[in-house]
C-alpha cells in the first residue's frame, strides 16, 4: 500500500512537472501576443504598431487622450484629514475639488474659482463669504456648504488628531478647537444655507484663496465617512469625489487608474479620458519605463539621468524651482553651538558654489537666504525684498577660523579647534554630503566631524528630543507666504527643534502675521530672516529644484508650487 502511494506521489510530481514544463514553453510565445492585444500608449510601441497595423486607420498621429503618470509612493489614505503625505494629496486633488484650485498660467500660480462660483470679503479681510455653484458629487448628490463645514471641522476635531490641522490655523479659534479648549462649534466656519459658506479668520491671510485649494479645506461627505468608518478612503470604492476625474481602480503599491468624471461641473474643459498613476519606487525603473514610452513624463533627480534624457533630444525638459531650502541646523543646547560666533563660522566656512559644483552637479541653486526665491510676500518676490544676508555675512567675516576661535574664547573653551569633535547626524541615504561637510569643516575650521548616519524615523525622533549635535535636512513651504517657513524658528515650535530662542524674532513675526499693512509685513519678515541668518541659527546652503522630462506630445500638466499637480487641463497633442 505504502509503496504504491509513494510511487503515485512521485508520479504526480513528475506529471505536474511536465505540465508545468508545457507552461514554461508557452511563456515564450504568449507575451508577444499580449503586446499586440493590450493597448499600450507607448510612443515607441505606437509608432511601430501604427506602421504595422493597417486596420487602425492611417491616422498614425492620432493619440488617445490617456496620460500615464509616474508616482514614487503609495498614497497613505484618501481620508485626507488623517494623512499628510503629498502622494495622497495628489491623488485626492484629481477627484476632489475645493472652493478654489490653484492652476499655473504662464509659469505663475493662480487660484481659480471651483466649487465656489464667487466670494465676498469684508473690509478687514476676516470674513469670507463663498457662493457655491451648482455642482454634484460623482454619485449624484449635490455639493453643499455643509460638506465644507464638515470637512474643515473634521480636520480641527481633536478626536481626528489630524496631521494637517496646522494648515488652516488661520480659521477663527482653529487652534483652540484642535487643542480641545473650545468646542467644535466655536470654529469660524458655518453654512448660511446650502449654497453659502462663511469662513471667519483670526487674522488676515493674503494667501487665503490659495489655501482654499488645499486638502485641509476639501469638502467631505459626512454620510460616507459614517458609512465606511475607519476604512473610509482606503479603497477606490470607498471614496466619492466631485472633481474632474473618478478613481476607478486602486491596486495598492502598484497603480491607480482614473477616468473622466462626466458629471464634473466643468467637464467640457477636461480633455483626458483616462489617467493612470504607476507607482514605481525605483528610479531606474521609472526612467526606463519613460524611455520605452510607458510613462508620459518623469522627474530626473541625478545628473546622469538628466544628461542621458537631454542628450536623446526627444523630450521636453522643465525645471521647477521648488519652495524648498536645504540647510544645516544645530542643537544649541550643546555648549559649542550656543555661541553665535561659532555658528557663524560654520556658515561662512561653507562654500555654497562648491557644493553645487562638486556635490549636486549644479542641479540646484546655491542659497544665501532662508526663504527660497520662488516665494513671494504679498505679491512681491521675497528675495528681491530681502537681498542675500548670508553673502553679506561672508563679506563681513573673511576668516571663519578666527571667528570660531573668538567664539571659543567667549565660551571659555579650549581654543584649539582640532580638539573639538562634533557628531553630524545625517540620513543614511545622503552620506556623500555628510562626508563633504566632514572634509570641508576639517579643512577650513580644523574641527573634527564624525558621521552619525541614521534612518529617517530615528532622525526625526532624535531631532525632536534634541538628542543630536548638528544635522542637515530640507524644508518645504506649505503655502506662499514667508510665515510658512519663518514660523519654524519661533520659540517653542517643535517641527525642527534647535533650542534657539529670540524674543525679538518672535515679536517681529507675530506682529507681521496679524497685520494687513504690507509695508510693516515686509519690514518685519525681512528683519526676522536677517536675524536667523546673521545669528546663523541655521545655515541654508541650497534651494531645491526639480527637473521633469515630458514626452513631446504631453501638454498642460500644471505643477503649482504649494498644492498638488493638476491634470484636469492636461491633454495629449494629436
Amino acid at each position: 500500500m505504502k509503496k504504491n502511494l509513494s510511487f503515485l506521489l512521485a508520479l504526480t510530481l513528475v506529471c505536474t512537472s511536465l505540465v508545468m514544463g508545457g507552461c514554461g514553453s508557452q511563456e515564450e510565445k504568449k507575451p508577444e501576443a499580449d503586446q499586440q492585444t493590450t493597448p499600450q500608449t507607448t510612443q515607441a510601441a505606437q509608432t511601430t504598431q501604427a506602421a504595422q497595423t493597417t486596420d487602425k486607420e492611417d491616422t498614425s498621429t492620432k493619440r488617445e487622450q490617456v496620460l500615464n503618470v509616474p508616482f514614487d509612493n503609495e498614497p497613505d489614505s484618501l481620508d485626507l484629514a488623517r494623512v499628510s503625505d503629498s502622494s495622497s494629496a495628489t491623488v485626492a486633488s484629481q477627484i476632489i475639488e475645493g472652493l478654489t484650485s490653484v492652476v499655473t498660467v504662464n509659469g505663475a500660480d493662480k487660484a481659480e474659482p471651483c466649487m465656489a462660483e464667487s466670494w465676498d470679503v469684508s473690509d478687514d479681510q476676516l470674513t469670507w463669504t463663498f457662493h457655491l455653484r451648482d455642482a454634484q458629487w460623482a454619485d449624484g448628490v449635490p455639493v453643499k456648504a455643509q460638506d465644507f463645514v464638515y470637512g474643515i471641522t473634521r480636520v480641527l476635531n481633536p478626536e481626528t488628531a489630524s496631521p494637517i490641522s496646522a494648515n488652516i490655523k488661520f480659521i477663527k479659534n482653529a487652534m483652540d478647537v484642535v487643542e480641545g479648549t473650545k468646542p467644535l462649534t466655536e470654529a469660524g466656519i458655518k453654512a448660511i444655507d446650502d449654497k453659502t459658506l462663511e469662513i471667519q479668520l483670526d487674522y488676515p491671510v493674503p494667501y487665503f484663496l490659495e489655501a482654499c485649494a488645499g486638502t485641509a479645506m476639501f469638502p467631505v461627505r459626512q454620510d460616507l465617512v459614517e458609512k465606511y468608518g475607519t476604512s473610509y478612503g482606503t479603497e477606490a470604492d470607498k471614496i466619492v469625489g466631485n472633481g474632474p476625474f473618478v478613481l476607478d481602480e486602486w491596486i495598492h503599491t502598484s497603480s491607480l487608474s482614473f477616468s473622466k468624471n462626466p458629471t464634473y461641473w466643468n467637464a467640457d474643459a477636461v480633455k483626458l479620458e483616462k489617467l493612470n498613476f504607476k507607482i514605481i519606487s525605483e528610479a531606474t525603473a521609472r526612467v526606463g519605463e519613460f524611455e520605452n514610452g510607458g510613462l508620459d513624463y518623469v522627474s530626473a533627480d541625478t545628473a546622469e539621468w538628466i544628461e542621458q534624457l537631454e542628450s536623446s533630444g526627444k523630450y521636453v525638459k522643465e525645471t521647477i524651482n521648488l519652495p524648498r531650502t536645504q540647510y544645516i541646523f544645530f542643537n544649541q543646547e550643546v555648549e559649542l553651538f550656543s555661541n553665535a560666533k561659532v555658528r557663524q563660522a560654520f556658515s561662512i566656512a561653507l562654500d555654497r558654489e562648491e557644493i553645487q559644483r562638486d556635490i549636486s552637479q549644479n542641479l540646484e541653486k546655491a542659497a544665501y537666504g532662508w526663504i527660497p526665491p520662488s516665494m513671494a510676500l504679498d505679491g512681491t518676490n521675497f528675495r528681491e525684498l530681502a537681498g542675500e544676508p548670508v553673502q553679506e555675512l561672508i563679506a563681513a567675516n573673511p576668516d571663519p577660523k578666527a571667528l570660531l576661535i573668538e567664539g571659543l574664547k567667549e565660551l571659555g573653551m579650549d581654543e584649539d579647534p582640532s580638539k573639538i569633535t562634533i557628531q553630524l547626524m545625517c540620513r543614511n541615504t545622503t552620506t556623500v554630503f555628510a562626508e563633504y561637510l566632514q572634509h570641508n569643516y576639517n579643512a577650513k575650521l580644523g574641527v573634527n566631524i564624525e558621521l552619525d548616519p541614521v534612518e529617517w524615523p530615528v532622525f526625526q525622533e532624535r531631532n525632536r528630543n534634541l538628542d543630536y549635535e548638528m544635522g542637515y535636512k530640507s524644508y518645504g513651504a506649505d503655502f506662499n507666504d514667508p510665515s510658512s517657513m519663518m514660523d519654524l524658528w519661533i520659540t517653542g515650535t517643535k517641527t525642527v527643534p534647535t533650542a534657539w530662542s529670540s524674543p525679538t524674532y518672535d515679536e517681529l513675526l507675530t506682529t507681521a502675521e496679524k497685520s494687513i499693512d504690507k509695508e510693516l509685513r515686509a519690514k518685519n519678515f525681512v528683519e526676522a530672516e536677517r536675524i536667523v541668518l546673521e545669528e546663523a541659527t541655521i545655515i541654508p546652503y541650497a534651494y531645491s529644484t526639480s527637473n521633469i522630462f515630458y514626452q513631446p506630445y504631453v501638454k498642460n500638466i500644471m505643477n503649482p508650487q504649494f498644492t498638488a499637480t493638476l491634470f484636469k487641463y492636461a491633454y495629449i497633442e494629436e
Partner: protein, 314 residues
C-alpha cells in the same frame, strides 16, 4: 501518526508564540516610532492625541496584553499605522496572493528546469553537457536574483520591449520577475538532482535493470527519477512558504504589489502592527510547510519512520 501530528502542531503553536512575542518587543526597541513622520509639524498636545489614539501612551505590557486580546477574541491584528484605516489582515490577504503567484511560477520553472538539467548532467557525467549545467548552477547560485532582475528588465524590456517594464496585471507582467526568481532554484535543484542521480545510478538495482535490458527512458522514469526526487521535496516545502513572503528586491525593481516589498517598507516606516501581522503570517506559513513536508516524507519514503508511529508500520 495522529499523535505525532498533534505533538508537532503543539510545537508549532509554541514556536509561533515565541516569535510573536519576540517581534512585538523587538520592533518597539528599534529607535524611531511610526508616527514621527505624521506628527512632524504638530504641537505637543496634538501629538499626545495621536499617541492616545494608537494606545502608545499605555505601558508596553498593557499594549502587549491588548494585542493578544484582540488577536484571540476578534482575530484582529489591528490597523496599519502608516496607511490609516487599512486592516492588517486585509492587507496580507491582498498582497500575499501576488507574491504567492510569482513564487509558485518561479518554483515551477526552477523545479522543472532544475530536474531536467540535473538528470541531463548526471547522465552525461564528465561531458560538455555536465560542465555546462554545472556552470549554470554556479552562476545561478552566486548571482543574486536582483542583479538578474535588473539585467532582464534592462535588456528584455527597456531595450527590446518584449515585456512590460514595471507593474502588475496580465501574464506578461509576471514573466521577467518569475524568471529572475527562478534562476536560483533552478541552480539549486539541478545540483541536488545531479548528485542524487549519480548516487542512484551507482546502485545495484540500476545495474541489474540495465543488465536485464531495460530501456533507457523506462529506467530513468521508473527507477532513477523516483528515487532521486526525494530531497527535492524536502527543499520544496519551506521554499514555497518563503515565496509567499515574497522576494522583496525583485518585487521592488518591477513595482509588483507583493508582500515582500511591503514588508520591507513596513519595517522602515516602523509600522508596528503591519510588521507583527506579516511576521506571524510568514512564520506560520514556514512552520506549517516544514510540518507538511515531514509528514509527507513519511508517506513517500517508507524507509523513514516518524517518531511514535507504531501504527505506521503495518
Amino acid at each position: 501518526m495522529l499523535k505525532y501530528i498533534l505533538k508537532r502542531v503543539g510545537y508549532t503553536l509554541l514556536a509561533l508564540f515565541i516569535i510573536t512575542t519576540a517581534t512585538f518587543f523587538l520592533v518597539r526597541l528599534i529607535p524611531g516610532n511610526p508616527i514621527e513622520a505624521m506628527t512632524e509639524k504638530l504641537p505637543d498636545s496634538i501629538r499626545q492625541q495621536f499617541f492616545e489614539q494608537y494606545g502608545f501612551d499605555k505601558p508596553l505590557t498593557e499594549q502587549y496584553k491588548l494585542f493578544w486580546e484582540n488577536l484571540l477574541t476578534k482575530g484582529d491584528l489591528g490597523e496599519s499605522l502608516k496607511y490609516r484605516g487599512r486592516k492588517v489582515t486585509d492587507t496580507i490577504a491582498q498582497y500575499a496572493p501576488v507574491s504567492g503567484r510569482l513564487g509558485l511560477q518561479a518554483i515551477a520553472i526552477g523545479v522543472v528546469s532544475g530536474i531536467i538539467l540535473g538528470i541531463l548532467s548526471a547522465l552525461n557525467r564528465g561531458k560538455l553537457v555536465d560542465y555546462l549545467v554545472m556552470f549554470i548552477a554556479i552562476f545561478g547560485i552566486s548571482i543574486p536574483n536582483f542583479v538578474i532582475a535588473s539585467l532582464l528588465q534592462y535588456f528584455l524590456s527597456i531595450k527590446l520591449g518584449w515585456f512590460p517594464t514595471t507593474g502588475w496585471g496580465t501574464f506578461s507582467y509576471t514573466v521577467l520577475p518569475s524568471l529572475a526568481l527562478s534562476l536560483n532554484s533552478t541552480a539549486k535543484y539541478a545540483r541536488y538532482m545531479r548528485a542524487n542521480c549519480l548516487d542512484v545510478l551507482n546502485q545495484d538495482y540500476i545495474i541489474t535493470a540495465k543488465a536485464k535490458g531495460m530501456g533507457k527512458t523506462h529506467l530513468i522514469f521508473k527507477h532513477v527519477l523516483r528515487n532521486s526526487i526525494l530531497p527535492i521535496i524536502t527543499l520544496l516545502g519551506p521554499q514555497i512558504a518563503l515565496m509567499f513572503g515574497g522576494a522583496f528586491v525583485v518585487e521592488k525593481i518591477f513595482s509588483i504589489p507583493g508582500l515582500g516589498s511591503y514588508f520591507v517598507s513596513s519595517v522602515s516606516d516602523r509600522d508596528y502592527t503591519m510588521i507583527m501581522g506579516q511576521t506571524i503570517f510568514m512564520a506560520a506559513l514556514y512552520i506549517f510547510a516544514v510540518l507538511v513536508v515531514d509528514i509527507l516524507y513519511g508517506f513517500i519514503d517508507p524507509r523513514i519512520r516518524l517518531a511514535d508511529t507504531k501504527e505506521g508500520g503495518n
